[in-house]
Every structure is written in C-alpha cells, then in structure tokens.
C-alpha cells in the first residue's frame, strides 16, 4: 500500500557499492514509499535534480567507501539554492576513512545540514522508522 511519500535514494560520489542500495529500495517499497533510486556513482546534482523532478519529500544518501566527507560537503546549501529548502536529508554508511568516534562523525554531518546520520551497520528498518516520524506518517 502506498503511503504517498516520495524518497530519492542513491550512493554518492565515486562509490559503486550497489548491494545495500538495492536492499534499501526493496525495504522502502515494502513500506509503501515511492522510491526514486538514482543508483551508485551519483553526484549531488543528480540527487537534487531527481528530488525536484519528482517533488520528493526526502533524500537518503548512502556512502560506503570513506569519501563521504568530501562528497557530502555543501549538499544542504546546494539543496537550498535549488529551492529544496526544507527537504529531509539523511546520510548513512561507512562515511569516513577508518574507525573513528561515531559521535564526532555524526556531529560533522549534522553540522553539514543533514537531519540524521547513521553509523555503519544500521538496520534500514530503523532509518525508515525515523523517516516516517519525520514525515508525520502514522505508524
């Protein structure tokens, strides 16, 4: 059953990790989301253009390869410039190079303007629960 919300998902930068991306798509669809999957190796612009074209409610950014910090910089500003002022932005995965303190990494991404950031190994069901809350969908 559709819940009426559209989510753009993809893997940012020069990252080609495709497995989790396919599973996130599968899980979101099961929960009734309209999923626009732009796939791996996606620049910020592709996320933003897809969100504009589909009038999306949220963008979920994945990064598994460690360059997330460079790739995500300025994402919120670019969204604002494109007119996506209050769009919900999540990011998750292995976001930085090496095993770093998660609280510090999380802060870095929240400071960049992401609404939520998820550490390595997070069950997608948790993020979907948060997303429903943030989008005001009744459980």
């Amino acid at each position: 059953m559709q819940n009426g919300k559209t989510v753009v998902i993809g893997v940012i930068g020069a990252d080609c990790h495709a497995v989790g991306n396919k599973i996130i798509e599968h899980a979101l669809k099961e929960e009734g989301f309209n999923v626009v999957n732009i796939g791996v190796l996606s620049p910020q612009e592709d996320f933003i253009n897809a969100a504009i074209e589909t009038n999306a409610d949220a963008i979920l950014v994945s990064s598994l390869y460690g360059h997330g910090e460079i790739d995500c910089r300025g994402f919120r500003e670019k969204c604002n410039e494109a007119g996506l002022k209050d769009i919900i932005l999540y990011v998750g995965g292995n976001l930085v190079v090496g095993k770093q303190d998660w609280k510090e990494v999380e802060k870095r991404f929240l400071d960049m303007g992401f609404n939520r950031a998820y550490p390595p190994g997070t069950d997608i069901k948790l993020s979907i629960k948060d997303l429903k809350k943030d989008l005001g969908i009744e459980e």
Partner: protein, 485 residues
Amino acid sequence: MELRNKKLTHDEFFKQREEVLRQWPTGAGVNLEEAAEYLKKVPEHKQFSKKLRYAKENGITLAQPRAGVALVEEHINLLRYLQNEGEADLLPSTIDSYTRQNRYNECEVGIEESKKAGRSMLNGFPAVNYGVEGCRRVYEAVDLPLQARHGTPDARLLSEIIHASGWTSNEGGGISYNIPYAKSVPVEKSIRDWQYCDRLVGIYQEMGIELNREPFGPLTGTLVPPSMSNAVAIIEGLLAAEQGVKNLTLGYGQCGNLIQDVAAIRALVEQAEEYFKMYGYDVYLTTVFHQWMGGFPHDESKAFGVISWGSATAALAGATKVIVKTPHEAVGIPTKEANAAGIKATKQTLNLLRGQRLPESKELKAEIELIKAETKCILDKVFELGNGDLAVGTVKAFEAGVLDIPFAPSKYNAGQIIPARDNNGAVRYLEFGNIPFTKEIKDYNRQLLEERAKYEGRPVSFQMAVDDIFAVGKGVLVGRPENMR
C-alpha cells in the same frame, strides 16, 4: 576498429598509447625503454611472478593484505608496517576511488585535504597523480613484490605508471573491473581498455620481463555462484593470454561452504587449464582466494573467526595466495594495526594447515563436476554468441543476460539472476534469468533450495537472498527466518 579477441598490433597499441599518456600530466613521465631497464633490475624477491611460482611449486599459500592511503610517506609507512609487523608475503597498493573513475582533479583535492586534516581523506593511493616518481618511491621503500589493486574500468594510464615504477602485478579485467565497479561504462569499452593493459604486460613479457596479471575473481562479492565467477575468470584469462600475458592468477571469492569453495578453486584451475590448452596459450597459472567479501560482524573477535575460516578454506583448497580481511571490515578502512592483525591471524591459520588438503570425497567430486558443467553451459553460449570470438561474445552475453552478475551496479548487466544459499550454505541459483543451463542443472539447483525452504517452513523467495546477505554480519552463514535464529 572493431572489437575482437585479437592481439593488438604494434601500430594499434602505440597509436593509442600517445593518447593514454596525455590523459594526465604525469603520463609524460613514462618511458617504455627506460621502464624496461628499471624493471630488469627488480630483484627476484620483489618480483610477483617469481614469488607466486615459488609458492605454487612448494604448496604454500601466501597472504596479501589490501592497503592504501592518500599521501606517499604515509603510504610507505603503512606498507612497511604490514611487511614488518604484519608479516605479509605480498604487498598491495589499493588505489582510491576517484582514480578508479579517472577523476584526477578530485584526487588533488583529496591529497590537499589529507595534508590539512592530518589523516587520509582518500580510500586509497592516488598513483596516477603521483606518477612514476612517487610510485617508484613506494616500490623502493619496500622489500616485497608490489601490486596495484583497484577497480578501474579504464586503467590504461594507471597500468603504464605502476608497471614503469617496478610494481610487478596488476589486478583487474574488462569484466571484473567494470560490471561491479561502474554504472555506465559499456562492456565493449572496458574490454578494449583492458586489452591495452594486458598488451602492455605482453610487450614487457616480450622484452624478457615477466609481470603478473590477476583478474578480479569475487565480482560483487555478494552470493556470486561459483560457476558464474569461474566463467568470468576463464574469459578474462583467455583475453589476457591473447594479448601475451604469461603469468596469470585467477581468483575466486569465498562463498562460505567448505566443499563448494574447495570445489570452486579446483574446478577453476582444471577448467582454465583445459581452455588455455584448447586455444593454444602457454600460461603459468596460479590462484587467489578472497576471504569473505560480504558484510562482516562488527565485533572484532567474531571478525577474526570469519578471517580464520577463510584462511583455512584457502589452505585446504590449495590456493596460491589469499587476500586478507581485517577486524575493522564492518566499519570501513582499517588502521594499520587492525590490518596487520588480520594478516597475522591469517598466517597463523595457513601455517597450521600447511601441506594439508581437503581429501577427495564423493561430495567434493560431485560439486566440482556441477561447477564445471554449469561453467561450460555459460562459456559455450558466450562463444556461440560471438561466432567464436570471445570478446564479441562477452559483450553479447551481457546484453543477452547469459553473463549476469548478481547485485552489480552496471546498467549493462541484466541483473536477472538471484542467488541464495541451500540448506548447507552453498550458493545456488534461485532465479536463472537467461543463464543457459540444462534442465537437469536447473532442477538440481531448485531441488536444493526447496530442501532449505521446507526446513525453514517458508517458500523459496528473494527474501532468502536478502537474509543471506546479512547473515554473516549477524554471525551465521545461512539467513534463516527470525524465529529460527
């Protein structure tokens, strides 16, 4: 120029080469004759092909880590640490993901940011940006054979630079470094570009320098059935051999069931040798076994369990080398200490099992026969589609879904097959897509999955594959339903 599986002519190669060396300013620093002189001076103990020959002839399995950081000095420190503290037998230089997409401007940003941040902001070593000078500094600072490990669809400039720098092996191939690593690179393009990389090795070979080439066996590393990865490995081996490669390492990624994994390596060697003979290539063949490439447990002790299991399987299979994972695998790129710890756990296991092989058994024999029969179905169709030309056949086979890699990002991959584990954890075909198997083979795969379904009290479905993907990270091989865990 039409794609065909034919050795590039002198003119074809050198005309292309002019263009390749202009792709980034460091290309100007590559001089083939000077590089050949440099390579001739590489001592035996730093030659990849020599060390692999020694290991094969003496029944030893070598251990090799993955490792690479943004800055030359840091990279040297890392490799020396893995050599001295980790006791690695072979060294890598893992190349960063911007280089893999030929985005050298972004590498420059990564290098500068890494200097400022005091930590690596890149997930590997940007070899092209450093050129021959930087890469030779790395080669000269270590005492073991050095290999480039990456995931680059167009690795022509990278290959020129690393070989000219004394790195005596290069990983990759036109399929294995495209389908799992790119979204929109045509198979035809990556096959051509890897024909160039292979021809470069062939040219050095003709000058008396034996470099090693290693197609990337595990592909997406996610429940790839052995017959599919073996088919790709044999194709890439044959394409490399046509370009004059003589020292070849074919690879396979651990699936997790001991009998299937040992059978996969044995089937790969036997079948590849048959094909090389059939097509008249004289190749010295070795094997590489990749420890579990899928999701890992976060708990480091549990991760060591996975690492040791892979090491044991590699030893019992008689693989020439094993690629090592680390206890940090679940969270990303490891520290040098964690990386060394992974190698040490691996080597301890390898040493304890030295000389032992999984004995012949009815089950092992049957599994080898099954993998070979499945692989042959695929390869026969590839040759048929290409009217006998393997390069053309490969392109057409991807279009037709005859070659189809599960969970791959490439839009040139059909993505129709679905794998899942049987009740013993061996990876089978759940959906066959357009894989041209006989009815007998299809029925047998189905029967094995039905046995699992019955045991689990649920139908055979995609959910099994999803559960299997997360299972090892959660501590088990087969992804059972929640009420059975």
